[in-house]
Amino acid sequence: MNYLSYLFDATHWSGSQGIPQRLVEHLGYTALTMIIALVIGVPLGAWIGHTGRGGFLAVGLANGLRALPTLGLLILLVTLIGLGITGPLIALVILAVPPILAGTYAGVRNVDTAIVDAARGMGMRGREILFQVELPNALPLIIGGVRSSVLQVISTATIAAYVALGGLGRFIIDGLAIRDFPQMVAGSVLVALLAIVADLLLAGLQQLLVSPGLQVAPAAGRRRLRAVPDSRPAAQAA
């Protein structure tokens, strides 16, 4: 109860430093990041997966970017560009792209070759195969990548506060500076809640978008799980 006192104090629920304002900022950073990351990651992943060219690049890029420390990147960008949203946004996009790219690439790549072959044999052209066959079948993995990306971005957007931006990270950084535990707990809990809600929403979206045909258990045998660079919770990169 003690730890949650900050959350339940009405004075923290209004004003330019209040919880709603910070929540909106956090959501804003996340949404902006995701839009940019989707615009980059999905077409690139789909193209690489469809053509089979540059698969090495996709995997390597995803792995390499994952190894980039977001904090360092953030600081470097702020040093170079100056204060403002641009630096943190770039850092977050770099964080968000790999799971989406890897998910889309793996999704398209993993579509059963027999199905793609059948599509070609029926006279589908490249674009028709991509849009009517590969992408619908890749959707579970694509959304999987997006979910893991969103989780990471929500969690990592907190360090934007380190470079004077808003968002829920403010509660953590400010709370830390004055050792105000309830404030830090408030920030952490809100971030966690936000992440959970976002993930649930995406899970719902997945149910809606993915064809029921891909959700029924296949009649025969489980598919062998390959050691591909996975796209699920690929850990925070903060």
């Binding site: 059963d112 027999a114 199905i115 072959d117 059948a118 599509a119 070609r120 044999g121 029926m122 006279g123 589908m124 052209r125 028709e128 066959v133 619908p136 079948n137 959707l139 993915v210 064809s211 029921p212 045909g213 891909l214 029924v216 258990a217 296949p218 009649a219």
Partner: protein, 360 residues
């Protein structure tokens, strides 16, 4: 009609999968490509719809060089069925079947109407329309595969081991279904299998390939069994081919003998011999011998039946061989007893057929 003229396929790694193939696939007939694994059957098939490019030579479909048409357009005009159906898991059965019509620009309602029609044609109940492939058994999936290939009513159908992933019982029923369908539709079908039994059963003509993509023999199945061109084919068609070859000899000239019958429930006839028990519609129920009182229980199961309306010497001989009495039961199209046949008569008929052929 499909014409292969000196067709060779050399893969980049140097493998020659098909070597100078000359072959004419007759229009409206089923032509089967058969041969051991890796002999180039699939490659030959896939060159027809340009899934694989020809290295040398030309292929013509209905007089037109396949390279003179856009590949995708060509494929839309050729049905293609593969092993395990290759159905789209994300689409319902109905939408799977409607794929090519939609590609061809039909409107949705028309495409779906056509798909529903085809489901019936291939023997799928309408309730399956809304299901997804994963909810179907292997045999049902294959039916969908066939329906999908037929959707735009293409004159040519390519089938690559379509039934090899299903169990023997289902496989047999799919084969029957294909023959029935072909009877109605009269497509030009090229069918690949590595199972000689399937080839002989389905093919109007059978092309036997040997490793290296060389055509070893191209003949009607009866001829193939009776006169294999060489040791390779001889070996490949395997044992029992004498018996199987009977399947291609018509039994129309086979004389039917008398068959003592007794209706169910009537008193058993006296005497040592076997009597066939029949029901009210004169359909065979089993055999009795040396019993007294009304027949009903204790029937000895009979052998296989010889259907005179569709029979060959093969089924006639088997009926005779499998009957406990040595007299095979011949039935008419309704299953009613038509008479008896003896193995000896079958052998006579075979000899006659041999003589006719030698004379020809």
């Amino acid at each position: 009609m499909i014409e292969f003229r000196g067709v060779t396929k050399r893969f980049p790694d140097g493998t020659v999968a098909v070597d100078a193939l000359d072959l004419t696939v007759d229009a409206g007939k089923i032509t089967v490509f058969v041969g051991p694994s890796g002999c180039g059957k699939t490659t030959s098939l896939r060159m027809i719809n340009r899934m694989i490019d020809v290295s040398d030579g030309t292929i013509e479909v209905d007089g037109q060089d396949i390279n003179s048409v856009d590949a995708a357009d060509l494929r839309r005009g050729i049905g293609y069925v593969i092993q395990q159906a290759g159905l789209f898991p994300h689409r319902t059965i109905l939408d799977n079947i409607a794929t090519v019509p939609l590609l061809l620009g039909w409107n949705k309602a028309k495409a779906r109407r056509r798909a529903a029609e085809l489901m019936e044609t291939v023997g799928l109940v309408p309730e399956m329309a809304k299901r997804y492939p994963a909810q179907l058994s292997g045999g049902q999936q294959q039916r969908v595969g066939v329906a999908r290939a037929l959707a735009a009513d293409p004159p040519v159908l390519l089938m690559d081991e379509p039934f090899s992933a299903v169990d023997p019982v289902v496989r047999e029923s799919l084969q029957e279904e294909l023959l029935r369908l072909q009877g109605e539709l009269g497509k030009t079908i090229v069918f690949v299998t590595h199972d000689i039994d399937e080839a002989v059963k389905l093919g109007d003509k059978v092309a036997v390939f040997r490793t290296g993509g060389i055509l070893a023999q191209y003949d009607e199945p009866g001829v193939l069994l009776a006169r294999p061109a060489d040791d390779f084919v001889d070996n490949f068609v395997g044992r029992d081919r004498g018996y199987r070859g009977l399947g291609f000899l018509s039994s129309t000239k086979l004389p039917l003998g008398e068959l003592p019958t007794v209706a169910l429930g009537e008193p058993a006839p006296r005497g040592e011999g076997w009597t066939l028990v029949v029901d009210g519609e004169r359909r065979p129920q089993g055999w009795v011998r040396g019993v007294t009182g009304p027949v009903g229980a204790d029937l000895v199961p009979g052998g296989s039946l010889y259907d005179i309306s569709s029979g060959s010497l093969r089924s006639a001989l088997d009926a005779a061989l499998s009957s406990p009495s040595g007299q095979g039961v011949a039935v008419d199209g309704d299953g009613a007893v038509a008479g008896s046949i003896s193995a000896d008569d079958v052998l006579r008929a075979l000899e006659g057929a041999r003589r006719d052929e030698a004379a020809a």
